[in-house]
């Protein structure tokens, strides 16, 4: 036994971090030529921006096929051209449908590659870790590697599984995740199917996933799966109601179920509906986290309780599809949230300058960041707490909100005062009603915020039961 232990420096990690080059140090070390070229590039970029700004102000872009602010213009002029050339209407239909489908598929596809990386890196930042950083630049290829791994893995069918129903759900759940993107407007004319019943379509599509989840859990012949499936189904069915009610408020306020019209309404009055209907926005956001199984409502796949929930038994790419759907749904909900409550592609007139789809994408990513933030911060609810929250809290208050909005919508249609004034009054009224209602209802349910949770008692005494009683009831 030697008295000299093997020693390493005090905190090797900290020293390594300290030894890393800083941003400032990197800049100082750049040679002059590179700096000059960089500055020239910067100037050229500014000049390009100025040129774009000139073209936009001049109005030369408006409605032309190369109006990059609205890719719908290009498709429209393509349709016009094919019509002029005398193509069969079916061909024109097919071409424009394929273009839109290609857009949606590439969006979702690219997201499925970038998304996991974003999520993991952001969560790593929350968790004072580094995150994936080995594979490709900044670890960007990590998700490709993961996808390759998933594809190579064997798909194991559990013994006793229902073979037919086992293979259906991964596909069945993927379809609504793609269909949901249909009615979302990315710019004024840029929507795949600008359905007249867009809101109803959205709700209907989201309800389709329920059955897939149930079948996945049931067909796996695993108790974890079944438990997760039943939890998810119960939760999704419950939370569809607050979603429908909050979207009903939106539809009544804007007097349209067409998504593009809802966005146009917000753009026209330069207001976000979240300001007018804060409770509806909250209900929608909370219920969506339940619908798409994200923290704090991810009880359907609570890994500390039921491993992976309804897709515990799915291995390889079949499990990967479920994860992909979950990821895709996260930004789909972000898109819906932005469209309904955050002004969609409009941004107080900024959409004249910046392409609407970029604005919408920014908003989607902001909502997605909120989801990641929640995931990194909050523990999970229990099933009974969640169901209680939906039925006892969200639904009653949402119903009252629907009544209030019905009155307000009819007032709005009749009043001739400036819209901003009326809407501001609505916002104030709704906010105060919401606060009042929430408070009253919470009191009614006997729920109170725990201000000062019981802290441990500090004592110097030692003892058993008698000492415990002394501490509990001090004389």
């Amino acid at each position: 036994m030697s008295d000299q232990p093997l020693r390493r420096p005090a905190t090797p990690m900290l020293q390594q971090i300290a030894a890393r080059p800083t941003m400032r140090g990197t800049l100082l070390g750049v040679p002059l030529g590179v700096k000059v070229i960089g500055a020239l590039f910067g100037l050229a970029f500014l000049a390009l921006n100025a040129a774009i700004a000139y073209v936009v102000i001049d109005g030369r872009l408006d409605g032309k096929w190369y109006d990059f602010r609205d890719l719908g213009n290009a498709v429209e002029s393509l349709r016009g051209w094919t019509e002029d050339e005398g193509f069969h209407p079916g061909v024109i239909y097919g071409i424009s449908a394929l273009l839109g489908g290609l857009g949606i598929l590439s969006l979702v596809g690219v997201w499925l590659i970038i998304g996991p990386w974003v999520e993991r890196r952001v969560i790593a930042k929350f968790q004072i870790r580094v995150g994936p950083n080995r594979n490709g630049p900044f670890g960007l290829f990590q998700s490709i590697a993961d996808a390759l791994k998933l594809m190579q893995k064997e798909v194991i069918i559990p013994r006793g599984a229902d073979r037919f129903l086992y293979f259906v759900p991964p596909v069945m759940i993927f379809v609504p995740a793609l269909l949901g993107w249909g009615p979302i407007p990315w710019a004024e004319k840029m929507a795949y199917i600008d359905l007249d019943v867009g809101i109803l379509f959205t709700i209907a599509i989201s309800s389709l996933g329920v059955l897939a989840v149930f079948l996945a859990g049931w067909a796996s012949n695993n108790h974890y799966s079944l438990l997760g499936a039943m939890r998810t189904v119960a939760m999704m069915v419950s939370y569809e109601i607050p979603i429908s009610l909050s979207l009903l408020s939106v539809a009544m306020l804007t007097s349209s179920m067409r998504l593009s019209q809802i966005v146009a309404w917000q753009g026209h009055y330069h207001v976000w509906i979240i300001a007018i209907l804060p409770f509806a926005a909250f209900a929608f956001l909370f219920a969506s986290t339940a619908e798409i199984n994200r923290t704090p409502n991810d009880i359907g796949e609570a890994e500390s309780e039921i491993v992976a929930g309804f897709y515990t038994e799915y291995s390889g790419m079949k499990g990967g599809l479920f994860m992909a759907v979950e990821l895709g749904n996260a930004i789909l909900v972000g898109a819906l949230m932005s469209t309904f409550f955050l002004g969609g592609y409009t941004m107080f007139g900024l959409e004249e300058w910046i392409p609407g789809y970029i604005i919408l994408l920014t908003k989607i990513l902001a909502v997605y960041f909120l989801f990641v933030w929640l995931r990194a911060t909050l523990p999970r609810f229990r099933l009974d707490q969640l169901m209680g929250f939906a039925w006892k809290f969200l639904i009653p208050i949402s119903m009252v909100q629907v009544f209030v909005v019905a009155i307000e919508a009819s007032v709005f249609a009749r009043v001739t005062a400036p819209a901003l004034f009326t809407l501001g009054a609505f916002a104030i009224v709704n906010l105060s009603i919401t606060i009042l209602l929430v408070k009253l209802w919470a009191d009614r349910l006997g729920y109170a915020v725990i201000q000062h949770p019981t802290k441990p008692v500090l004592t110097q005494a030692v003892g058993g039961l008698r000492a415990a009683e002394r501490i509990r009831k001090p004389a």
């Binding site: 007249d196 019943v197 109803l200 209907a204 309800s207 189904v233 179920m257």
Partner: protein, 182 residues
Amino acid sequence: MDSPGIIVAFWLLSGITVLSALLVFVARNLLHALAFLVLSFLGMAGLFMTLSADFIAVAQILIYAGSISVLMVFAVMLTPLASRNNGNSLYVIPALMGGAGIAGLVGAVAMETDWAEHSGEALKAADFPSTVPVIGDLLLGRYVLAFEIASVLLFIALLGAILLVHERPEDERSAGQQGEAQ
């Protein structure tokens, strides 16, 4: 109806619908039958779509494929000891005959009758840019009484379902069981 898309869609969707409806009958497992039923509902929604009834089609998806099927799932799961068997009863032969008879009758009538129907340009004029406001006006205008009665019906059905399935408290239930035993 000149758009080839609609013609293709009609044949495809009606094929899917009829086939999956048949499979509901053929399937051995109740949950398989349920899956086919949902497919049939979806095909039906597509057929509605070809009839330019977008609101009804989406409502069909929402109510049938989304809600009633889940309700059936719950019914199946809440009756665990009952068999998952989708077997036929003794009435299968008469039922088949009856079903074929009805289908044949409807088909014959449909083919033989000279329907006063739109076609060509008149049919195009019957396309609506938006069905929702018109349906809304109808429901809250001419059929408002029926609409209100339907809402009452829904409410009563809700209450009835809750009352039927409501579990009595433990002591009451055991008392009831004793009563039955006597």
